[in-house]
């Protein structure tokens, strides 16, 4: 039961936080304590512990531990920022529920259950996406998100259920069709290009903290769930034999990596820059998975986890800059610390050394070159476009100069950005502890690919 304790604590806390969500002075600290307790429970759970709950097998894996730790730390920083700097009462129960579902996804071992819980997690933020509904299009954005999640979720679960009931003598085309539907379902959930229209609308209309919850926590969880489902469902050996599926993953990944980078390089504001950068990095990670190789899988997962953390920091900084500069365009003069946090978050987003984003990107681009030189060149081109986008944002923020460096009042976003930067720097200097559990999962993936 201890293995399920952390998600259960968060789920119970989410219910509690919902009841007194309008008492901000209570619900903020309560949410922080609940997340800290869940973190302690995750750390205390020994690796490879197994358990069963309602017929569903649970397992505490190295990757699950690592991802749970990063997710809980990110949630802690998000809740801290919202409590102290951007009060929004819907956010606290939503963040706790998202934490509960994300941790649940990481310990479940049944692909159908992982997918079902993931859909619940992706639907929960709808409550925090809508705000000041008469002044913006946040309802439309949330409705579009709802549609994409419902469509992708139901199609994905249905294809998994059908694939699980396939008799051995089923024609190969049936299998290909089901895996294609599964991949497209995940592309819908991950907002991969060309299925990114809801993400584009969300980027413009939704509060920054809710955006950070989605792109910083849920999108990385979805990606990890995708890779785990591929591993656990037994579909991998057949995917190797049917090259079409690998090509499809490759195609969606490349389109997303280059398309997202193009959109990021011309993004009109900081939020869109971050969202398109996440989409581009996810595309590159899909290419890494499509190589079906150890370095590709390690690079993809490492890159996605780091992307989530840096996107959270950048989105919070973008929100702080918008609030301080409103109604004018965000500039560094109004909130220098938040602007710095945005810039250093950008370093992590593009995978610059010595930050932790570098090893993942290096592995992905290296293996992509080995897979096909054109693919490797496309990923490098995407990285260059992301650098252009981030540089444009730096110029927009600092172009007018900063007359006097001072710490803005309530510099929470700046502090959160600094904490994330220090963590990524420490991880980048000593990446072994971060990469080892991912490498262990990559071994599992490769074993599932070619079972004895």
């Amino acid at each position: 039961m201890i293995i399920a304790a952390a998600p259960l604590v968060l789920a119970a806390a989410a219910c509690g936080a919902f009841i007194f969500r309008k008492r901000l002075h209570l619900v903020g600290p309560f949410a922080l304590v609940a997340i800290a307790a869940a973190f302690a429970l995750v750390v205390l759970t020994p690796l490879d512990t197994t358990g069963t709950i309602l017929d569903l097998q649970l397992r505490s894996s190295g990757l699950g531990h690592l991802a749970s730790g990063v997710i809980l730390a990110t949630l802690f920083l998000l809740v801290l920022d919202v409590w102290l700097d951007e009060p929004a009462y819907n956010f606290f129960p939503t963040a706790l529920a998202v934490g509960a579902t994300s941790l649940g996804v990481l310990i479940l071992t049944a692909p159908l259950a992982i997918f079902g819980l993931l859909v619940v997690g992706l639907l929960v933020p709808v409550g925090s996406f809508t705000f000041q509904v008469q002044r913006n299009r946040s309802v439309e954005a949330a409705t579009r998100h709802f549609g994409f999640v419902a469509l992708g979720g139901c199609l994905g679960i249905a294809s998994l259920a059908l694939a699980a009931s396939l008799p051995h003598d089923q024609p190969a085309n049936t299998f290909v069709l089901l895996v294609v539907v599964l991949v497209v379902a995940f592309a819908l959930l991950l907002a991969a290009i060309p299925f990114h229209t809801h993400a584009a609308l969300l980027a413009g209309e939704v509060p920054p903290a809710a955006l950070a919850l989605y792109f910083g926590v849920l999108v990385p969880t979805t990606f990890i769930a995708f890779v785990e489902i591929l591993t656990l469902s037994g579909l991998l050996p057949a995917i190797v034999q049917v090259v079409k599926v690998q090509d499809l993953l490759h195609g969606i990944g490349l389109t997303s990596a280059v398309g997202g980078a193009f959109l990021a390089s011309g993004a009109p504001d900081q939020r869109r820059l971050v969202v398109y950068s996440v989409i581009s990095n996810l595309g590159a990670a899909l290419v890494g998975i499509a190589t079906l190789s150890g370095p590709g899988i390690i690079g993809a997962l490492a890159s996605v986890i780091v992307t989530g953390a840096s996107a959270s920091g950048q989105l919070l900084a973008a929100g702080a800059l918008e609030r301080r500069s409103s109604p004018e365009r965000p500039i560094a003069r109004k909130a220098p610390l938040a602007a710095l946090a945005f810039v250093v978050g950008g370093f992590a987003m593009i995978g610059a050394p010595p930050l932790l984003g570098f090893p993942g990107r290096f592995f992905m681009e290296l293996i992509a070159y080995q897979f096909a030189p054109l693919t490797g060149a496309a990923l490098v081109f995407a990285t260059l476009l992301l650098i252009v986008g981030q540089l444009r944002a730096v110029l927009a923020l600092f172009g007018q100069g900063v007359e006097r460096w001072f710490i803005e009042p309530r510099p929470i976003a700046g502090i959160v950005g600094a904490v994330i930067f220090i963590a990524l720097l420490a991880g980048g200097i000593q990446p072994d502890g971060f990469l080892r559990p991912i490498a262990s999962f990559a071994d599992e993936f490769l074993r599932a690919l070619r079972p004895l």
């Binding site: 309802v139 409705t143 709802f146 419902a150 009931s165």
Partner: protein, 195 residues
């Protein structure tokens, strides 16, 4: 076969209704008929769990409507959704049918151990849901499409030979969360429309 017919007719009623409350009642009919279709494959507890999920989901949509007149006129979308669903069901059944093809005897009344009617109903519900969701203008039809799809998914999962209690509970929760998110969006969309 009778339950399958009720699923099809109730889906058409939910799809064709201009009032959300009527759609919610029709959705309940779809869920009940779907439960009857696979009654033999699940224990009473599992059926109760999924039945409760459907009841709560439909109740949420019924309450979210707030009055009898609120809804979305499907217009031409009704016909498009029906034609697409019918064509897609036939195509899915031809290409994706995984139930045993030996000795298909579909009884008019009573259980269908081959699972053929359950699969047809599942394909019909999922394709109807996709067609409704893709053409939806407001959260009203979006929620309707999503709940039809998840009902179809529940039917497919019931045909698997795996432990079902956890999955039944989880899918019941997914249905309720879909209805909650849909209801929340319906209420907000109404506020926007009325302002």
């Amino acid at each position: 076969m009778i339950a399958l017919g009720i699923v099809a007719l109730a889906t058409l009623a939910a799809n064709g209704s201009r009032q959300l409350r009527y759609s919610a009642v029709a959705l309940l009919g779809v869920s009940l008929a779907a439960n009857v279709l696979t009654a033999g494959q699940l224990t009473v507890t599992q059926l109760a769990v999924e039945g409760c999920g459907a009841l709560v989901a439909c109740g949420i949509l019924y309450v979210a409507a707030r009055d009898r007149s609120y809804g979305e006129d499907p217009g031409w979308r009704l016909w498009l959704a029906t034609i697409v669903a019918a064509a897609a069901t036939a195509a899915c059944f031809a290409t994706l049918r995984t139930a045993s093809s030996e000795a298909i005897a579909v009884p008019l009344i009573g259980e269908d151990p081959s699972g053929v009617t359950a699969q047809v109903a599942a394909f019909w519900l999922i394709s109807s849901g996709v067609a409704i969701l893709v053409t939806a203008q407001t959260p009203v039809r979006g929620s309707l499409g999503a709940i039809l799809m998840i009902t179809g998914v529940e039917l497919l999962v019931r045909l698997l030979t795996v432990p079902q209690l956890g999955l039944s509970l989880l899918l019941g929760w997914v249905e309720v969360v879909i209805a909650l998110a849909g209801g929340f969006l319906i209420v907000n969309e109404r506020v926007v429309r009325e302002s």
